[in-house]
Structure formats: structure tokens, C-alpha cells
Symmetry: C2
Subunit: 677 residues, 2 copies
Amino acid sequence: MDKKNFSRPIDIKNIKVTDSFWHSFQETVRREVIPYQWEALNDRVEGAAPSFCMHNFRAAARLMAEKKSQPDFQEPAYAYRGFETLPQDSGHPEPDKFYGFVFQDSDFYKWVEAAAYSLSSHPDKELEATVDEAIDLVCAAQHDTGYLDTYYILNGMDCAFTNLKDHHELYCLGHLVEAAVAYYQATGKDKLLGAACRYADYVDSRFGPEPGKRKGYPGHEIAEMALVRLYQATGEEKYLKLGKFFVDERGASPNYFLVEDRERAAREGRPAPGEDIASYSYYQADRPVREQEEAVGHAVRAGYLYSGMADVARLTQDEELFTACRRLWDEIVREKLYITGGVGGTVHGEAFSYPFDLPNDTAYSETCAAIALAFFARRMLEAEPKGEYGDVMELAMYNTVLSGMALDGRSFFYVNPLEVNPAACHADARLRHVKPVRQPWFGCACCPPNIARIVGSAASYAFTENESTLFTHLYMGAELTARNGLGLTLESRLPWEGWARMTVHTARPGGYTLAFRVPGWCRAPRFIGPEGIGQIQKDGYVYFTGEWKDGDTVTIELPMDIRLMGANPRVREDIGQAAVTCGPFCYCLEQADNGPDLHLCRVDANALGSARAGETIISGQSVSMLELPGFRQELAPAGPLYGEYAPAKESPVTLRFIPYYAWANRGEGEMRVWVRV
Amino acid sequence: MDKKNFSRPIDIKNIKVTDSFWHSFQETVRREVIPYQWEALNDRVEGAAPSFCMHNFRAAARLMAEKKSQPDFQEPAYAYRGFETLPQDSGHPEPDKFYGFVFQDSDFYKWVEAAAYSLSSHPDKELEATVDEAIDLVCAAQHDTGYLDTYYILNGMDCAFTNLKDHHELYCLGHLVEAAVAYYQATGKDKLLGAACRYADYVDSRFGPEPGKRKGYPGHEIAEMALVRLYQATGEEKYLKLGKFFVDERGASPNYFLVEDRERAAREGRPAPGEDIASYSYYQADRPVREQEEAVGHAVRAGYLYSGMADVARLTQDEELFTACRRLWDEIVREKLYITGGVGGTVHGEAFSYPFDLPNDTAYSETCAAIALAFFARRMLEAEPKGEYGDVMELAMYNTVLSGMALDGRSFFYVNPLEVNPAACHADARLRHVKPVRQPWFGCACCPPNIARIVGSAASYAFTENESTLFTHLYMGAELTARNGLGLTLESRLPWEGWARMTVHTARPGGYTLAFRVPGWCRAPRFIGPEGIGQIQKDGYVYFTGEWKDGDTVTIELPMDIRLMGANPRVREDIGQAAVTCGPFCYCLEQADNGPDLHLCRVDANALGSARAGETIISGQSVSMLELPGFRQELAPAGPLYGEYAPAKESPVTLRFIPYYAWANRGEGEMRVWVRV
């Protein structure tokens, strides 16, 4: 790490996304997703599982109001009442009861965060009023200690913080903070920020290295990076310290989760659980984070943890911690990354599988895990600008993150397979987690609002800056103002064409550096800057440094070849197969364009020269389509199951590929990314 | 069906297996498996899960003795006490308590049946005395009604026959009958046969089409074919009628399992379960058997049912029922059969998967399901001699049935995958059911004793006869005496070489037909009979008919080519791959002969002419080894996960294949049947 390379995202208020690709997704989020999700949080979407999220806040606010008004009010003693979800047809929920998952509160916070980003770029009085009203309710639900998790407020505060491992109180803190900071930055309103600080202060009073505090840390990470964000928003160093404590204590000995498991068993009169530290790898807590060498366990948790580690490492200039971040990053990229930018090979624990285990049909590749990977990548970039981080971030964002949402914004994928045969999904219990079409809303609705918040803040991933340099990581058309007041316009034809131009707007010439990522997918990039501006290339970035005048431009030419990609032969699932990419996109075959039985298709590796790029319309949107020569094996009408091997009877066909993000927008059908060669 | 083609296995006492291949397995069963399993049934095998099988009989016998000796004895009222298995280190089981699975009794019956076959060919006073003593115990445990299932005898007879669907009382009847008939036929002793008849009579008094009887049938089939066997052994037609009733009533409306589920719910004060008839497909009871068009549900149950259906169809000359058998047979062979003769593509329900879903690594392919398929095949042959039935029977018996047992007879596979990567088995919860090495004994120990009984009675699958014809289905070296007194000797070099000779021994010439199966795997079979004996070929059998003299021979030449086989392209898992077969064997690559990373191997389909057959020694036994030219892709030492596609760098290698039945006898390692071409 070199401090002078550190950078931070541009304040979202100083940037306007004009990019046709991303702006269209942001508009979909604004017009469709945010209103829809508000209805969902309020259990008003017909046919979708009720969320109970706002119900729970209302119930807690009522309880807190009672407490304030009655001097002799006794809070309920903890009684486990399950995480019940009311069957939709069984009438109304009990008004004082908690429903849904233990982390249900976080869905609201994610929604507020997405709404905040939307309000930043597109003010909307009505939406803002709705958010404000909801924030009033949430603040009314906050416990007088500052604690804020409706599960325990409603079920009994005496057991709060007794199961950090599996109950998501600190996860909810993290999302509360993310929402509060985003809403404060978007609107200047600090009511939710105040609630977030109060909850963070209370957590800080209970957990930390100091005597008398517990050495606990979140079971589901996110508070680490959220506390860093709170520190950056408020300047309060204690939040950074608390985040660092959560990072450093994780997996240390004695293992807090075991301590907690045993205390809970003792309290409940159960026999003490045995010491099975390895099982805490699901939580990345089987060893101290600095000693972790392999990305393991629940992939979303892992990505959030690594993001927090990178934040803390940068802000505390902790080389050892950053080395751990680099090691984990390398391991993911070298052994555990899908070509679609997804991670998490197995449904069991929604987790990273063992190295090189990247099954295509049973893939988990959760949308949120790709989002977490983008978080991690951006934070690595904030610490050291290297093209590889940008490449992976781009891969995740342009492919698996976006495939999580239908083009119309009305349905969502939790799981993003690389190969789908709908008949198998319906018939095969091994594929129960794989849905061939997107679903309207999930009981565990982590992904839809997570997509909304990353799409809304996409510009934060495209550009970062420090005092002297503006980094362009993604070629996302935008108008922006750098910290030093320099105006910049990026025109971009990406992701469809490899051309972009950055124009400088300045009243008076000044020294500055513009750095541009050289995409790993581009074989012959060209960067053309103004005369008199020096150009050097380092670690996958081209740096233009010098005195910039108004109207200066840098033209970026990134020819996009249609590429046939192969996997490392250690990936058993992909042997003998290839995937098609072009620019930031990974492509796939869909039944809608190629008929069923996609496993019969074979791409002609020798005829790549005659591949053609065109376009098609999907869900009303123009989407690129690549046509490659290939073959299709014939199906015998009713042949025997086995016979003498004979070379397959094949007919030449044109294989039509669409970008992975756009799949499953035309009804149910087969899809595959990896195609036989 | 044509009655004059009907045939029955030769009485096991009239046949002596001399075949080097099968005799060696029978000796392994006699020397290793039968003694080992007796120890296991008595919980005396260290390191293996206790069976509690004989414990349960002892406990029930004690209870029955008490009942006889105490005039005011009250049988216990039913109390669910679970199917507990005592942890091995927690001391002794309670003497009056039932342990293990609800079908635990059947393990003893399967063992007796295997012992009976062994005693038929190899008298053993000590073993016979052990069996007799155990039979005394089992008869002492029989309830005075004739009922015999220790689970309910010990837990409360008032609830007997209230859960035919999931409790295996009629399954235990089936295995009791199979054992009793085999032991009677082997030794002439009828004590167990008497117990079996008493239990069958009691069942007959409770179930049937007559008024006052319940219309129930087994949840786990086998009683159907067992009752047919009991009918054939005793001549009592009521057993055939009961078997036929079980077949005919299955899946009829109103569905008995639903009736029973609802009655049980009412008795236990639970809400009545909804009508979900489709879910009974697991039991092949979602529709009447005559209307079933697809093999579905638990594969062992299915195979046992179809066997019973074929028996009943033949004996009652029920064309409609036999048409259903043919349809189900065709569907299995056309859509659901592994090239190893295994069936059952999915661990979920140990079941047939959907058509053409034949995954290799997550295969279930239970040993018992292959055994059940052999049962079914033989019964189809008994009704109509067609080569296809014999081909599939042979495939199952020479491959998956035998792969269920280690060559030393000391460990067993329940699941028989076609592709194993031990590292994946250890790391991947999706492969939890796949063991890379055989296990000593299972809590659910259905497979080991089932292998013992089919190996012991292998000759019953090789030869069947009727008044005029002896059918040779499998070329298993043997000396036998036909029903008409004709002596026959089959010398055979199969399965290793394609040569066999049948010699006739007779004091006086006589008219007779010798029929020989023409194996589907043989491209150029030759059958050379004596002069003056007519030869015709029909439906995969060559018939020699005429007056036979002493010393007449038929020589059978069945050249065994090394064959490269391909799968129907509808089988997605096998696309672009081939399997190697030779004679009755399917072959596989093992790590022990070819190194790890078998997915990198590719067989050279153009160089099959230079394939060589040799042999190797595995577990002290000579086993054929085929050497085929191929290629092995190189692994980059530490390459990136993805890169521009390039044709694989490969080196020529010799691929060494061994028969599938002999895999996993040299420690843990990779294995695969299907190899890329």
C-alpha cells in the first residue's frame, strides 16, 4: 500500500450518471424497484410472501411508546417465539408480535439506502416524505439504550446480544449505518444518522478490547465496513476503532462464538457444545483473519468481511492486514470465481466450495455475493489501483449483479446459475435452489434491495479520487466534479462499443492526474491525451499527468473483440468447453434464440473470425447479440440409450449469444454459458 | 406371452456352479460375508454400527414367552419409542427395547437366505446349526396370531398394520418367505417355512378383496414376488391370490395410503393430511400398476414391484398386466439405465430421476436397485425369452451388483457412482451419499446381505427350464440336471474369453431343446451344434432342437471386441464422452492405474484398433485390463482461472481400464466410466 495512491469514491452529489446503460438500470430501480419494494416491506404485494418488516417496526414503536408512558412498565422477558411467517391467507398478524427472519429490519435499511441514492440524482418530494415518515417510525422503535433490533425489542431485551453468531443484530446495525449515511449525504437530514450513531455507541459500550466489554463480533459481517463509513461521515474515530476491533477479534482465541454457544447452552440447561472451531469457517471465524488463506464459508459474509478488512487496512495503514486481503483476493480470483463474476459454488451454506469447484448447473452464485465481491474490489482499488481489481469488479457488476434483476425490475434472482435446464429444475431436488425464472419477492429478501442500492450507487464504483488524481475504473458516462473543482465529462459508448472520451472543464488550467483503467479484456487499447500531458502506464492503469486546460480531452479506444475463453483444466465442469465474452460482458446461449437442448450445441473455435455482432430487443431494451458459427448434434427420434460410439451427427448452425445479465427475460427456457468446443 | 415359452429357474440343488468367476464370488460369500454378517447381526463387529437385529428377536421371544407363561399378561400398548441406534460406547441396549430401523428383522431373513444357498452347494454342519438355533429364536418371537415383526411386537401390537406405507411389516413378511423357502429347499427343514406360512396366513386374514378385510398393500414391495414363491413351494393358491391382490390394489382409488394416513392422523389427533396422491409415486402407488408408464420413485421398491407384477402376470396369464411390465421395462432400458447396469439417478428418495437424467458423480445407483433389476429381468425371461432381458440382467449382475462388494468380501457399497473424485466426496455436501471407498457395514444394511443372496443363487439367473427346453441366459460354467433327467455340463471361459461348450450326458437319446442367449454385445456369435440337431434363432436366443445323444456338444463362440460406447445425446452428462465395454463388463479408469485428474484424459476413438487386452492383479485376483491409446491434457502449474481458449495441450498416454466391478479395491482414488473422446 502506498498512501498517495489511496482514493475514495466521488461524493454521489458531485456526479451525474449519463451513461445509457447504467442510467437505464437506475431509472428501472427508481420507477419500479423502489416503489415495489416499499409495497413489499409493507406486505401489500399480492402473491408475494409478506415481509413484516414495517409491521415489526410499528410493533416495536408501540412497545417503546408504552414504555415511555408507563412508569412501571416491565419489558417482556425473552421468550423464543420462532421466526414465523404468517400464511398469507390466515388473516392479520398479531400487532405486537415479531414476524419474519431475525434480520428482517435490514430490508428496510437497504431500501432507504437505495432510495437515498435515487434522491441524490433524482429529487422526489413524495418519496422523501415516505422515507421521512418511515424513519420517524424506526426511530420511535429504537430502545432507550440505543439498541435497535425489533426481534429482541419485541421478544425480550434480556437476551439481546447473546447470539451474535446466528442472530443478526450487528448485521442490522451495519445496514442501519449504511442507510443513515447515504440518506444524510443525499438529503442532509440526520435523524436516521442520529439513530445509527446511538445504536453504534451502545454497541461500542458493550463490545471492545477494554476491560468489562465483551469480545464479540458480528456473525454476519457488514458492520465492519459500515462503521468505517460512519467514521468517514462523522469523523468520530471510535467507529473506526470498533470496526477494527471486530476485524481483529474475529476468530481469535478463545473463540467468541464458542464462548457464546456454551453460555447459551448453560443458560438453557443444555449440555455444553463440543469444541468444533472448524465449523465456524462458515462465519470466517475459525481463525484470525490475518491467518486466513482461503475464502471459505458463506460467500456474502466473506465478501463483506474482506471489504471491511480492506477498509480498516487502508485507514490504519495496516500492511499485514492488507496482505491478508490480497491473499484472499488472489485465492478467489485464482480458484473460486465464475466467469460471470459470481462466487459461491455451493448451495450448502450458500458458500464458497473447494478450490476449482465451479459447477454450472448447481451453482449458487448468489446475487448478493457478486455485490459483496464488487464491494471488496472497490475497496482494494481504494487502497491500490490495480487493473485486476477493476476487471473483477466490472465482471461482477455487468454480469451477475445485473442478472439478479429482470430488465423490467419486477422480479429477481437469488441464485445465478451458468447452466439451466428448466425441466431439470422442476424435476430434480438437487436443483431446488435454482429457479429458471426470476421470482417476485423472497421471504429472505436480501438480494432485491441489495441490487437496488448497488445500481443506485454505481458511480461510486466507476470513479474514485484523491487530492491529485481521478481514477476511472469503469467507463460509465457521467458528468462529475472532482474534489479540486475540476469539471469532467466522460462520454462513453461502453459497454456496447469500445470508445470513450473524457473532457476537462476548468476555468483556469491546473495540475492534475487522470487515470484510466486498461481493461484486461482489451487486446489493443489506445489512450490519446492532449499534447503536453505526460502518459505512463502502471498496474493496469494509464496515468495522464500535467496542466489541464479547459476542453482538453482524453480519448480511449478499447476495441472489443469477441473472445472465446477457456477455463483452467482444474475446473472439471468446464473441460472441453468455452465461454464467449466481449468487452465487460460474458455471454450465454438461450433457448429463445437457439432452441432447446443447448447441450447439443458446439461452438466452432476455428471460425471465430466469422463471428458477427448485432443486436436484439429483449423486454423492450436493445441488447447486443453475437452470432458465432457452430454445430448442433442431431437427436435420434427414439434411439437406444447406448450404442457403439460414433462421431456425432451434427449440422452447422449459427449460435446466438446474448449478454448473461439479460438472460431469463423471455419466459422459461434453457440457458448455458459454457458451450462445448 | 406364450405359455409354452414359460420357464422357471433350475432347482438350486440340481446345479453345481463350476464357473471360475462366479464360484470365486460364492466362495467369498461363504468364507467371508456369511460369517461376518452373522457377527454383524449380533452386534459383534468392532467399528461397525450395531445392527440389533438378533437383539430384537431375543427381546420379542422373551416377551412372547412371558405372555405364554402368565395368564393375565397384558401386551404393551403402542408407544412410539423411535428407531434408536445405541451409540456404540454407551454400554448395553435395554433388553426389552427395539433398536434400529423398522425393517431390521429383514436383515436376518436375507442372511438366512444367503446361508441356505451356500448350504445347497456347500454343506456345513456348523453353519446349519447356527441357522437352526436362530430360527428357533425367531419362531419363539412370533406372535400367537402369526404376526411377526419385532418392532410392533415390542412396541405395541395394537398399532400393527396401521402404517403399511412407511413401516415395513409386509416387507419383512416378504423376506421371511424368501428365506424360509430357500432354507426349506436347501435343507428340507420346514420350521421357518411354517412360521412364514403362519405370518402369510395372518396377513391373508387381514388384507384382501373380501368384505371385512382391509385393502392394504406393502409400502416397500417384495411380498408380491415372495408370495408367488411361497405358492410355488407349497402349492397353496391363496398365496398367489394374495400376491395378486397386492399388485392389483396398489394405487387403486381410494388410495389406501391416503386412507391410512388420514386414519392415523385422526387417531393421533392431528389434522387430516391433504390429498397428494402424486407424492405416493415414491411407492409406485400414485396410480394402478396397469396404468403406470414410467418407472418412478424408490428404485429398489420399483424393481421389486415389477418383479412381482411379472410373476403374477405369468402365473395368471394376465396379458394386460404383462403389457404394463413390458412398458415399464422398456422405459427403464430406454431412458433410465446406467451403462453399468445400475438404476436410480438421484439420492433424493433413492429414486429414478426424470428420463435421461443419469448423472455420473451424484449417481445413486444403489446396489440393491441393480439386484432388483436382475430380479425383474429374470422374471421377464421366465415369461418370454428375449435377449434384451438377458443382456440387461447380465449387465446388472456383472457390474453394479458385484461392485457393491469388495473383492475380499469385507466391505460394501450402497451407492455405485460412475465417476468419483474423492477430494470432492470429502469436501462437498452434495456428494454426501457417495463414498470413495466401501464401508464395513451400514446402519441400514440392506445391500450387503442382498449381494450375498444373489451371488449365492447366481445359477438361478443363468439357467431356466421348462418341460422341453433348457435356457442358458448367462454363460456360467456349471454341471446341471434338467427336469427330464438330462445331464448337462457347461464349460465356459466367460467373462474373460468368448468361448463356451455345452455337453449332454444321457443314458438314452431323447428329444429336447437347448436354447442359448445371443449376447447383445457380441458382433459375430457362432453356435455349433451336433449334426442332426436343428438350429433356429429367435428374439436373441438360438434354439437347438432334436434328439440328443450322450456326448453331444454345442460350442458357443462369442468374440469379445473392445467396444467404445456412446450414450444417446439426450443424456446430457455423457455428451462428448464414451465408455469402454468388453463382453459383459463395463470398464472404468482408476487413479491407481492412470494417475489423478482423470477428467484430463481423453480416449482416441480412431486408434481403437490398437487397443490391447491384458490382465492385472487386484486384491489377489486376476482381473482383465484393457489398454487404449489416449491423451492427457497438461495442467498448467499455476495458471489463471480463465484465458483465451486454446486447444488443450495434450500428451499421448496409454489409458488403462479395469472392469467396473473391480474398482475401489486399491485404496481411495479417482474413478470414471465415461471418458472424453
